[in-house]
Every structure is written in structure tokens, then in C-alpha cells.
């Protein structure tokens, strides 16, 4: 959390404090349990899961389920494991994140420092676009991707995520640059710097925190997307989430729970890592996007 721990003026008694700690620990357990259970059971052989206690430590440790989930498990028809779909996701996420962040930064810069008549309405239009239920665009999007020759391809998914992500990145950069002193831009104008030079030399060097926020937000959202992946991807471009769902819900054969868990953790790993490394900024970004609107 970015917020500095404030001097707290509320005093509490010993009984209350014990209750508070119990409550907090109970919920910590609630949040941790599914992840712990998944990790524990992804390291057990299948027989042990069926017969045994889900909270027990593995009697026989094995990484076999992980290897299977990564490279040999049956996803759809072929026993490819999740590996190709992991790379599909990477190939989709990286360009979509970079493009939407660059566009959001420039949009935020225009909307705060180069204001013109009607710019608030334009921003409102872009902002509302963040909140539409995507069901409303599924049908025409499928058609348009077909017309553009991008149906079922990774570039098609990049386009989709760019279109529906740029509203958020614009929102972040606009809120951030709104607090950036306009006098600096005016000073630079008098000094003779133009639109791009001011952005590059004056604003961008101070934009570190918000770039991190935008990248994390976009990365998490696009990596975790299921609806667009399920609707517009084919087998060669299918992202990790869709592949995981196929793996877990395939009705043929025995349910290999241990493999499913290993797969689920693999699918969660990139966002969890990003969150662990830069979680403080992540929360700050959520705040900026929601509390301040």
C-alpha cells in the first residue's frame, strides 16, 4: 500500500485487540487456503488425492503433475500441455500492454495539458467504454475481425485488448498528469519546446510510477481475460486462461486434479509474480482508477 501508516488516534482494550487479531488471522486463512491447498495437492500423486485429506502434506512428493501440465497434458485434442498457450498469452499480452500504455500516456497528456473545447466529453466517451459489458460488442467484433483478416489470430486479440484497454490507461495518465504542474508545460513552451519534446523531456521522466501502474493493470487484465480469448481465439492463438479451462473441464478420461492445480498455478504465476514484485503500485493504481475516478 502506498498510503503512509497514519498516526492512529483510536484506542482499544486488550479484549478487543485479541478479537481483532483473531478476526484478521481467520480471514488471512480464508484467503490463503485455496492457494495452499492447490500447491499441496499439485505435489501429490493422483491416488493420494482421491483417498486422502486435502489438507495433509504429500506422503509422496512428486513434480510429475507440473511437468504434465506444462508439456504433456491433453488440452483439447492434442497432448501438448499448457506450454504453447503460455507463449500465446505472452505474445498477446506484451504488444497489447505496450501499445495501450503508450496511447494512454499520450491521451492523458493531451487531455490535461493541451485542452480544447469538448475534451471532457471525449474523455467521458472513452471512460464509459471501460465499463460496458463486453457482451454488447461480441457479435460485431467477431464480424469485424473476420473482415480485417484477423479472426482467430494473436494480432486480432491484441487489437481487441488495445481497444478496450486504452480507456483505462487514458484514465490513469489523465489523473496523474492532472496533478502535474501546467506551468512546467508553459515554461517549456516559452523555452521553445514543441508537443512531443515537452512530453519526452518534461513529462515522461516524471511518469515512472504511473507507467508501472498502467503496465501492471493492463498486464493483469489482459493475462486474466477469458471472454475475448474464448470468443475470438483459435487453437493457434488460444491464451492460457482458455487452455486452462479446457484442461480442467474436459470431460474425457480421469480427472487429474493434481495436473489441474499445477496448471492453474502456472496460469496464475505471471500475475502473482508481478503482484509480488510491484504490488504496492498495483494497489495504488486500483485506487487511482476507482476512488478518484
Amino acid at each position: 500500500m502506498a498510503v503512509a501508516s497514519a498516526e492512529n488516534a483510536v484506542r482499544t482494550g486488550r479484549f478487543t485487540r485479541t478479537f481483532i487479531y483473531l478476526f484478521l488471522l481467520l480471514f488471512a486463512l480464508f484467503y490463503l487456503m485455496p492457494l495452499l491447498v492447490m500447491i499441496l495437492n499439485s505435489l501429490k500423486p493422483l491416488a493420494e488425492i482421491r483417498g486422502g485429506n486435502m489438507l495433509a502434506l504429500p506422503k509422496q512428493w512428486t513434480i510429475e503433475p507440473w511437468l504434465s501440465a506444462w508439456s504433456t497434458a491433453q488440452v483439447g485434442v492434442e497432448p501438448t500441455g499448457l506450454k504453447p498457450f503460455f507463449w500465446n498469452s505472452i505474445k498477446m499480452v506484451v504488444p497489447a500492454v505496450v501499445l495501450s500504455t503508450v496511447m494512454g500516456a499520450l491521451n492523458g497528456y493531451v487531455l490535461t495539458k493541451w485542452r480544447f473545447r469538448g475534451d471532457t466529453i471525449l474523455f467521458g466517451l472513452m471512460l464509459f467504454a471501460c465499463f460496458i459489458p463486453f457482451q454488447i460488442v461480441l457479435i460485431p467484433m467477431a464480424r469485424v475481425l473476420g473482415l480485417l483478416g484477423l479472426a482467430g489470430s494473436t494480432p486480432g486479440l491484441v487489437l481487441v485488448h488495445l481497444v478496450y484497454g486504452v480507456g483505462f490507461t487514458t484514465l490513469y495518465f489523465r489523473n496523474y498528469y492532472a496533478a502535474f504542474p501546467t506551468e512546467l508545460v508553459r515554461a517549456a513552451q516559452i523555452d521553445g519546446a514543441g508537443f512531443f519534446r515537452i512530453f519526452w523531456r518534461i513529462l515522461l521522466p516524471s511518469s515512472g510510477p504511473i507507467v508501472v501502474v498502467s503496465v501492471i493493470w493492463q498486464f493483469t487484465n489482459i493475462w486474466n481475460d477469458f471472454l475475448f480469448g474464448a470468443s475470438f481465439a483459435d487453437l493457434d492463438s488460444m491464451p492460457m486462461t482458455v487452455a486452462l479451462n479446457n484442461l480442467v473441464s474436459s470431460s474425457t478420461g480421469v480427472k487429474e486434479y493434481n495436473v489441474h492445480f499445477a496448471g492453474a498455478i502456472l496460469a496464475a504465476l505471471p500475475t502473482l509474480l508481478v503482484y509480488i514484485v510491484a504490488g504496492r503500485y498495483f494497489v495504488r493504481g486500483l485506487m487511482a482508477g476507482s476512488v478518484k475516478g
Binding site: V10, Y31, F128, I132, L162, N224
Partner: protein, 298 residues
């Protein structure tokens, strides 16, 4: 910073033009891919489209059919139950955790990420984990039986009447930590001198929170409501991964309804009309909120 356009020199005119050029690709994208598509879908909802879009005008027939479908009724009723419980429970848990965490708790830096990490996960991962935890044959119920609590019964996910509550449970697990973060930021933003003044006035802790602090969290309540209701109406992935809409239609939501009618049952006209209903519901919540936010700023 509107510089004069008439009689202006080249540099001034160029500098006036560039910002609009820079904004225009995003704007064009949003206009076509959002507003254009909305218009297209609204149009489709008045046509006889089945497996593919077709343009035979049928007026309100699709809406008429939609409102007569028991399937749609179930989806809407489920959404009502799911959304209200999800919003209320997430808010209560989030607020409680935030207030308790704000009491100079040792290990706050350790607890906060634990509460928050589910937000970083995909709903598919959440669904996978909870589907199994809730499965009576192998998850919690089974474990309790192994521990000797033979009468323990927790089979909601297989029960038509209770399955929707398992969706609530998993969704609350995923989002309540995020609500906590919003309230915590709100609490940390309250002026300490007000709290000191209230204590001088002799307010008990209970009254301090009820009368002074919680009323000041109004913006956080509003934001939490807007975000959660928006997530609730859009939620699709979680249901797919957790229950697949079942058992039967017990956990069908408008989002899953739209998808199955449009893409698997080849009733595109009805699917489009259900999407329009979803959009109108969200717009009813978002438009006043965004309007107020933008107006306040400019």
C-alpha cells in the same frame, strides 16, 4: 491552453493541431469499436438474426421472446441474488478488515498482501480452486469426514437451490480484499485532528466509527458499489469455471445466457437483445456516476 488559430504562425497552428491528431486514433477506435458496435448490436436485437447476422426487421419480437423465456428469468433472478449478496458481503468484509487493520496492527505489511492477492488471479483460476474445494466427494466435506465429523455436509455446489451461493462465495473471496484496500485508503485519508476532537468530546470507539469515521468514507462506499456492481453484471468467467451455469440452470447469469444463445444456440437476435439489457443496466449505474465525477473535476 487554446492558442489563437486565426492569423497564427505556422508553429502555433501546428502545435494546436498535433494534440488533436494524437488523440484521434484512440477516439476513432472507441467510436467504431465501442459506440459503433453498440449501435450494431442494438440494431441486431431488432432483427431476425439466427446463426449469422441478418437484417430482417422484426421490431420488438426478440425482446418479447426474451422476457417470456424462463431461462432468462432464471438468469436475471440469479443475477439479483448474486449481485446483492456479492456487493453487500464484500463491502461488509472489506470494511471490517480495513477498520481492524487500521488499529496499528503488528504484521499489517504481512497481512495486506494476503488479503489482496486473489485480485491478481484470473477468475478461471479462482473457479478451478473453489470447484474442487466445494466438491463434496473430494473437497471440504470429504476432509471433514476424514477428520471424524461424519455428519458434516457441504454440498451446495451440487444443489440447485444453493449453487448460486457458491458463486457468491468464490467471488467474495476474490474481490473483498480489494474492497478492503479502498476502505483502508479512505480511512488513512481522514484527518487525525477530527478523531482527536471527537475523543475530546467523549465519543466511544463505537460512536467514533458510526458517527464520525464511516460517514466520511462515503466516496469509498460509492466507488466500491460501482466497481462491484459492474463486476457482478459482467461476470462470466467465474461461472464458467466454477459451475458451468449448472447444476441445470441454477447458476445461469445474463452473461452466460447471452453467450450460449448467441454462439451455441444460434439465436443471435435474442442474444443481442439480452446484451442490450445488460448494457442498459450498467449504464443506469455508470452514467450518473461518471457524469458526477467528470463534472466535479472540470
Amino acid at each position: 491552453m487554446a492558442l489563437p488559430s486565426a492569423r497564427a504562425d505556422f508553429k502555433t497552428r501546428l502545435q494546436n493541431l498535433i494534440p488533436k491528431l494524437v488523440l484521434s486514433p484512440s477516439l476513432a477506435m472507441v467510436l467504431v469499436f465501442v459506440y459503433g458496435f453498440i449501435i450494431f448490436t442494438v440494431y441486431l436485437s431488432f432483427t431476425d438474426s439466427r446463426i449469422l447476422p441478418s437484417f430482417g426487421w422484426v421490431g420488438f419480437e426478440n425482446y418479447d421472446k426474451l422476457f417470456r423465456l424462463r431461462h432468462w428469468d432464471i438468469a436475471v433472478a440469479n443475477l439479483a441474488v448474486f449481485a446483492s449478496l456479492y456487493i453487500i458481503i464484500s463491502t461488509v468484509i472489506g470494511l471490517s478488515l480495513a477498520i481492524f487493520l487500521d488499529q496499528k496492527i503488528r504484521g499489517e505489511g504481512f497481512l495486506r498482501p494476503i488479503y489482496l492477492y486473489p485480485m491478481a488471479l484470473s477468475f478461471i483460476v479462482t473457479g478451478t480452486a473453489w470447484k474442487w474445494l466445494l466438491d463434496p466427494g473430494i473437497g471440504l466435506e470429504h476432509t471433514m469426514h476424514l477428520w471424524g465429523w461424519a455428519s458434516f455436509k457441504f454440498d451446495w455446489i451440487k444443489n440447485r437451490d444453493y449453487a448460486i451461493y457458491t458463486v457468491v462465495l468464490a467471488a467474495v473471496w476474490q474481490s473483498s480484499g480489494f474492497v478492503m484496500a479502498m476502505f483502508l485508503a479512505g480511512l488513512r485519508g481522514i484527518d487525525n485532528e477530527i478523531l482527536k476532537a471527537a475523543q475530546m468530546d467523549g465519543a466511544s470507539n463505537w460512536n467514533l466509527y458510526r458517527r464520525i469515521i464511516i460517514p466520511q468514507l462515503r466516496p469509498a462506499f460509492l466507488s466500491a458499489f460501482v466497481i462491484l456492481s459492474h463486476l457482478a453484471i459482467k461476470s462470466y468467467d467465474l461461472v464458467i469455471a466454477l459451475t458451468g451455469g449448472g447444476p441445470g440452470r441454477a447458476t445461469e447469469l445474463p452473461a452466460t445466457f447471452m453467450y450460449s444463445y448467441t454462439f451455441t444456440r444460434n439465436q443471435m437476435g435474442i442474444g443481442a437483445s439480452s446484451a442490450v439489457m445488460m448494457l442498459m443496466t450498467i449504464a443506469a449505474i455508470m452514467v450518473p456516476y461518471l457524469y458526477a465525477e467528470l463534472k466535479e473535476k472540470s
